[in-house]
Symmetry: C2
Subunit: 548 residues, 2 copies
């Protein structure tokens, strides 16, 4: 049962259930869509898990990206079960558990890639190493009484990985040889022909940039791409530069990765931001957050001259070693423009080799299909079109087209001896997190925010005498986000006359129901305003009552 | 003086002034940025033109795209001057003038590519044909007493254009030979190496798709790309299919282009949407709007099963012959996903050759530089980074780097015998159009809409007795877009207590100024709500007063 991560990129979470046992794979978050105004993040609706928590034997994590671990604090608060993951993955999760006051309450268990784990009566899980844009990522072979399910996790096949740890082909082949019931495969890059390039390509590009740069270098990338950070540090060391780490999430990941041995740098390579003046600018490399042009990130603040410690100056080389995540294109462009305006040389996406994807392209996916030889294929981790393309890839490697199942969130994919098919649906969907509120923002609140955002609000307040409905004060009209009040005095006074007319009409027709009066105000005033402005602000009539 | 179109893509408008004469080049609009909530469109602030309208000799248009003609109705209402453009350009403008009731009031003059025009005492303008993604596009050689200014307009160099009309190299070389003071060159694609592909490539791809398609074909593209429409119609004719035109803007452009002779189709090729049932599905080609996934467009409605006449069915081939304009990526993806879900085969961007750009890449720009041999270069029609890249291209062809001028909106670029430089700034910027309001939405209104969109509004109404400030009714709390009221009754009742506490405190401290009371309510309540929810709704205290 996918609880998220199918038909979308984000909030990955899968359940595998056999009789009275459930295991959970990942618990990720998703960043809100543009129309989810004011929402901070989105997590899967895990009510099915809550209702069946006695069945849950454990939560297995494939790797430490937000879309795989970000919902776990919210889930673990309600469904506190043991968590299994590799060392770095759990290291990153622990930071989150700490923020949520859960560190001492949740039992985390480190697993090693290549190892196996028995869970409950029915499940045995083999973890195998895969390459991805974060170290310590694993896929899983899940042995169940119905057969083996292979989950690739997020993966690519990097034949020359930075840490030398290649995808565990042996384990995958071994599973394939035993006979695999179903393969859940990462479809994110299923549209892309060929092979995804090795992370080492980025290393060569960075080396070349460092060789040519005459002055200070600033590199922005994803904090969790530890291999890329390693390559930047290696180049800095080679060219006799010092490295300063910038931005909260970057500092966190670097510290955690060094502590756990995933990032190896000489002790005197790193310098503090307050010591920057002690070095010549050509000796300095800044590694920073902000590769997505996020409004509050370090690089964006530098580009806007709002950073307290670092100002961009002519001569700086700024390298944006990332490609924009869909939806962030305009933020990134804006940052690049601002960096150019301050005189920096900016190296970004269009330069080949400064970013490579962490997901497998078509030829890698075919290779995995041929190693695993699954009976059924379930595309995961993609929007619908990605899943369609993965289905085509599966078919091209000989999987029966009837045996590719493209599920929706909440679908129950049932396997038995005769067939595999979608046989039902469980409670599922999205929970919106806004500030401290988890799930208290829903369609009505969002609809109101949307209307407010487009044309603002016009509030009509009037105080009536109880019983007689005589107007004791008002009507007063207050508006926000609708028009400039100063330049629209005439409009507002005409609107007030309209309301007075409506009130008069209600009295003469002896309408006494407030709901009726309010509804008449809304109708009459809405019509008037639309005619005059072609806008539809939210109209909110408020009636106060005082005793006779 | 650029009034728009530099440091941005959109609202192109340039003024050329010599002594007491001004000519205007283009008057375009721009679609609002994400943070311009509720705004419909953006036009240049043309107050400088209004203040100097006696000087204005004419408005010259390069081509008929919205970002070159969309602001003209607004400008012409205030600055009614003769307009000059090619036949199709004026044909498209006239549709807009009609909507705004200006058709009989504005004098439009058709110019022919290759012709010249004397304007005022000082100006002579040579119009030369260029290739672009709309027919009848021109560049201009503007002869002034200070020298010749060449404006490329939006252009590419298509050596095999669909209509056989290639860019007028002769005229451009002739101008170059005379000696050109300044070149204003289209920088949109200055980041792209090589040459932009010919529109004919799209024709071959379309032909191939038509050859292979087994059933109905639906093609979405930009309405104004008449050459592409021609190629679709040609393929339909070749494969014995009928064409049905769909979507308001598509119908408008097709009618206008056929009327003016820019689109040539056999009379029985086109069929009406109501006659679709009279044909077998494999005989049908639909050409439709919606290539950008615009929420109300025909293709989007088809993809969402909301179109009244056309439902997508398995077997349909949908071709999206366009690339997403920055900012529209997610809309387009959503449409593609929905089309796949209904079982259509979807052919889009990632398939090479289904869209080519209308703007010149680096090698074309170099060619133009070498033909024109300008003393000065001014990059236009690009965001800042595009203009920086164009500057580099100019330098690579031998233009002195000091002679490339990257202006901002409103800059006065002054040319005299000794130098060319930015010597001042005139009134300029953006005017936001929202419904019927032109310029009545500004920073305060937008700031309010932004706050309302994030966390909604909480209104506090209380009726006080004049003089004593005794509470006669309320406080009542009304909220929209903040929290689900039903699930937050406790929060709202706590908030009410907070307000009552504040009112009590004000009375006991003998605070009588309403502004003070309101400000105290805002502070106390804001703190309380943030503590409880980590949200900052707009808090709007309203005090009604009744006599003692």
């Amino acid at each position: 049962m996918p609880m998220g991560g199918v038909g979308e990129i984000g909030k990955n979470m899968f359940l595998v259930e056999y009789k009275e046992e459930i295991i959970v794979i990942d618990g990720g978050l998703k960043f809100p869509e543009d129309d989810m105004l004011g929402v901070d993040l989105v997590i899967p609706d895990f009510s099915y898990l809550e209702e069946n928590q006695d069945k849950v034997k454990g939560i297995l994590i494939t790797h430490g990206h937000e879309d795989h671990i970000g919902a776990l604090p919210y889930i673990l608060k309600k469904v506190n079960k043991p968590v299994f993951g590799t060392k770095l993955t759990l290291g990153l999760l622990e930071g989150k558990l700490k923020e949520h006051g859960l560190l001492s309450k949740v039992k985390t268990n480190i697993i090693k890639p290549g190892s196996s784990l028995n869970l409950g009566k029915y499940f045995k899980v083999d973890f195998f190493k895969v390459n991805h844009s974060i170290p310590d990522a694993v896929g899983m072979g899940i042995h169940t009484p119905a057969g083996i399910i292979v989950h690739t996790g997020d993966f690519k096949i990097d034949q020359t990985p930075v840490d030398g740890e290649i995808t565990d082909f042996q384990k995958i082949s071994e599973l394939g040889k035993k006979g695999v019931l179903a393969l859940m495969a990462d479809s994110t890059n299923a549209e892309r022909p060929g092979f995804t390039m090795s992370e080492r390509v980025v290393g060569s590009t960075i080396d070349e940039i460092f060789r040519l740069a005459k002055d200070r270098i600033i590199v922005a990338t994803f904090a969790s791409n530890v291999h890329r950070l390693q390559q930047v540090c290696d180049a800095a060391y080679k060219y006799n530069k010092k490295v300063c780490i910038n931005g909260r999430s970057m500092v966190n990941v670097v510290n955690k990765s060094m502590e756990l041995g995933y990032l190896n740098v000489p002790s005197d390579l790193l310098i503090e931001i307050n010591d920057l003046d002690r070095y010549n600018s050509e000796e300095i490399v800044l590694i920073t957050t902000g590769s997505q042009g996020e409004p509050m990130s370090a690089l964006t603040r530098m580009a806007n001259s709002e950073h307290r410690k670092v100002s961009i100056v002519p001569g700086d080389t700024v390298v944006i070693a990332a490609s924009p995540i869909p939806g962030n294109e305009k933020f990134v462009s804006k940052t690049i423009d601002n960096l150019f305006k301050r005189g920096a040389e900016v190296i970004y996406e269009s330069v080949s080799g400064i970013h490579v994807s962490g997901h497998a392209s078509q030829e890698e996916l075919k290779l995995v299909m041929n190693l695993v030889k699954p009976k059924y294929v379930i595309p995961v981790h993609g929007e619908y079109r990605h899943n369609v393309h993965l289905a085509k890839i599966a078919e091209s490697t000989g999987v029966d087209s009837n045996n590719v199942i493209i599920p929706e969130i909440g679908d129950v994919i049932e396997f038995n001896k005769k067939f595999a098919k979608i046989t039902g649906k469980v409670n599922s969907g999205s929970i919106l997190v806004d500030g401290l509120g988890v799930g208290d923002v829903g369609n009505i609140v969002l609809r109101d925010r949307r209307q407010l955002s487009l044309d603002g609000i016009l509030i009509v307040v009037v105080t009536l005498q109880r019983g007689t409905n005589k107007v004791m004060a008002g009507p007063d009209l207050i508006t926000r986000g609708f028009v400039y009040v100063r330049e629209s005095e005439r409009l507002i006074s005409e609107a007030k006359e309209t309301v007075e007319g409506t009130l008069e009409k209600c009295r003469s027709q002896n309408k006494k129901e407030w709901s009726q009066i309010k509804s008449d105000i809304k109708d009459d005033l809405g019509r008037k305003l639309y005619e005059k402005t072609r806008r539809r602000p939210m109209i909110l009539p408020i009636i106060m009552e005082i005793p006779k």
